[in-house]
Symmetry: C2
Subunit: 112 residues, 2 copies
Amino acid sequence: MVKFSEPDLDRTFAALADPTRRALLARLVSQDGASVSELAEPFPVSLPAILKHLNVLSDAGLITRQKTGRTVTCRLNAAPMADAMAWLDHYQQFWSAQLDRLAHFVEDDDLS
Amino acid sequence: MVKFSEPDLDRTFAALADPTRRALLARLVSQDGASVSELAEPFPVSLPAILKHLNVLSDAGLITRQKTGRTVTCRLNAAPMADAMAWLDHYQQFWSAQLDRLAHFVEDDDLS
C-alpha cells in the first residue's frame, strides 16, 4: 500500500501548474503588497479570471490577502514551496545521472 | 507583459499534483522497468485509472514506456523535474526568510 494523503502538496503543485499563477507569484516578488488591480494590470485576461487564480493561490497558502477599505492587497507566502522542493529533491540524483549520461554521449559523439 | 509560454513546466507541475502519480514515480525509483500490472498492484484504483495516470506522466515526459510482446514496462525519466526545481529555487530565499522570522518568534516566545 502506498502513501496517499499529502493534500498540501497536491494543492501546491496544482497551483504552480498554471503560467498565469506562476507569473502572479513572480510579480509579488518585486511588488509584495500590491493591490489586486495592480497585479492584474499586465495580464491579457479578465479581472474575474485573475481573481480565480488568486483564490487558487490563496487556497494553496502561496499568497495572503488583506482588505483595507476597498483595496485588497496580496503578499507572497513561499513557505509551501519548501515541501514541493523537498519532494523534488529526492529525484535529483536520477536527473543528474541522466544528464551525466547525456554529457558522455555528446563527448563520445564529438570524438568520433 | 509577462512570460506565458512554459508548457513543459505546466505539464510537469500538473503531473505532480496527484498523489497516485507521485506514488507511481516513487515506485519506479525502486522498481525501474516494472510492468504496468506490477506498478498498478498496490493501488486501490482500477487498472484503467492507472493507465490514465501513466498517460499523464508520459505526456509530461516523466516516464517512458516500452512494449515487449504483450508487456508494457515503464521507466522513470526525472529530467523534466530539473526545470521545476530550478523554478522553485528562485523562491527559496523567501521561504528561508519566513522560516527565520518564525524561528525568531518562537525563540522570543520561549524567553518571555
